[in-house]
Symmetry: C2
Subunit: 294 residues, 2 copies
Amino acid sequence: MEFLQQLKERAELVEKAFEKYVPQESTYPSIIHQAMRYSLLAGGKRLRPALVIGAAEAVGCDPQRVLPTACALELIHTYSLVHDDLPAMDNDDMRRGKPTNHVVFGEAVSILAGDALLTLAFQLLAENAKTAPADLVVRVIQEVAELSGSKGLIGGQVVDTISAGSEVDAQTLEYIHRHKTGALFRASVRAGAILSGASDLQLQALTNYAENLGLAFQIIDDILDVEGDSQKIGKPVGSDEKNQKATFPALFGIEAARRKAREAADNAINALEAFGPRGEFLRSAVNFIINRDY
Amino acid sequence: MEFLQQLKERAELVEKAFEKYVPQESTYPSIIHQAMRYSLLAGGKRLRPALVIGAAEAVGCDPQRVLPTACALELIHTYSLVHDDLPAMDNDDMRRGKPTNHVVFGEAVSILAGDALLTLAFQLLAENAKTAPADLVVRVIQEVAELSGSKGLIGGQVVDTISAGSEVDAQTLEYIHRHKTGALFRASVRAGAILSGASDLQLQALTNYAENLGLAFQIIDDILDVEGDSQKIGKPVGSDEKNQKATFPALFGIEAARRKAREAADNAINALEAFGPRGEFLRSAVNFIINRDY
């Protein structure tokens, strides 16, 4: 599949940058750097950093210009997974086919490793001032922080956590999805576009793209938790039901959920119209997300 | 005592800025904003933000110019306390005379509230671009992230955590103190100075000041945990000994520890020589820290 090759090329840029920016395991205190790298290098798809790069490309920019920011978005995603998996939160033992961070390193180190990944993310966002104007970098930091914060990513996690075990309405479910997944997709795409000097109109179109992509992604995630292959997705299926989590299939049924995902995917594709061939990577990301089985 | 009045004036600037920058309790999702404000507004001394302001004043700058950054440093300090108090970490039930965050809000919300305070801190650091040049703001973000990260504040916490229950040597103790307390003192003073356009020489002197101040502060903290008044310090005394924590008094005895604190305080005062009357607030902070009984 051609998209996977395109994704791999961008993921390789990101992995190489990690070697430059993330302290080696031997760096004192070793245990925290082991824990940070354990989760960061656990074989994620690198979708968010690829979106940062894809947005830069859509605006006609070299990926090198946004690479530290691309890494930062993956660090934020990883920290949120590490903290979400903790016993006090989702209490998950497996992630991407491996024992979760706290199972390997213990809860204390795991909490601190999440904190350190988040902190390093902001260091890398600032680092991007070496290849992009400082005023754009500051704007990106402000936006990424807002979208990752108590009214963004963390807000989604909070509502998800306090809603577990009770019935939620469609509005609450939408809030959770828009914030838990949508916020970082939006932050990734906007960060790549802003650093690349996108016009207001371009930024608006790419934001629209990101929101619909995030929605499609989360619905498919929910569906895979119901009928996916636990080998392929690297964690047990049915965990949402077990934890009585709010999901699209639980609320609307599988078929209606699939229809909603398809609709969001179409909206995402349409939002890219003005970018022509430069929007190719972002365009094929939509099809990948909607058709994935892991 | 004149210093307490000076500190109070600066703390009031900071508290007022919190009202502007930190979401109200009613902001959705309410529970996370309640938890953030609970710990942030629990009556801290606001020493770190006062150091940001004090450094700006030493260089001849208006406190207003560095106010979002001053708030950010207090947010980072507060997040680290919230996470340190968690059952998986120090497992403390009381802080500043009140039940700790997780006792009131539960572990899950408490972890997320810490994450959100840290994230908001970086948003405020970026916000400072409204009153200071963007290139200086980027530099401050980079430094604050580094000093708060896995080789700074979090590094100190990691070594402290993994050393608990076993004997530590003087070198490890110094690492813990230099990073757990020293890093944020250093970050605060440097941030205030950089945003105010300090010269390299001024920055070097203020860094020297901050390191010695941090050392004196931590030694006194250790001593108070042995012979302080639990009413005044707002938490039980003897908790370091209970947790077999590395401390200066445990390693050197109370008298030698007190001598070390005095020496560090003298070094801090000497580092301020070139600043004349503008260094007055930073100077009197030294005496306050060395003589405090809470």
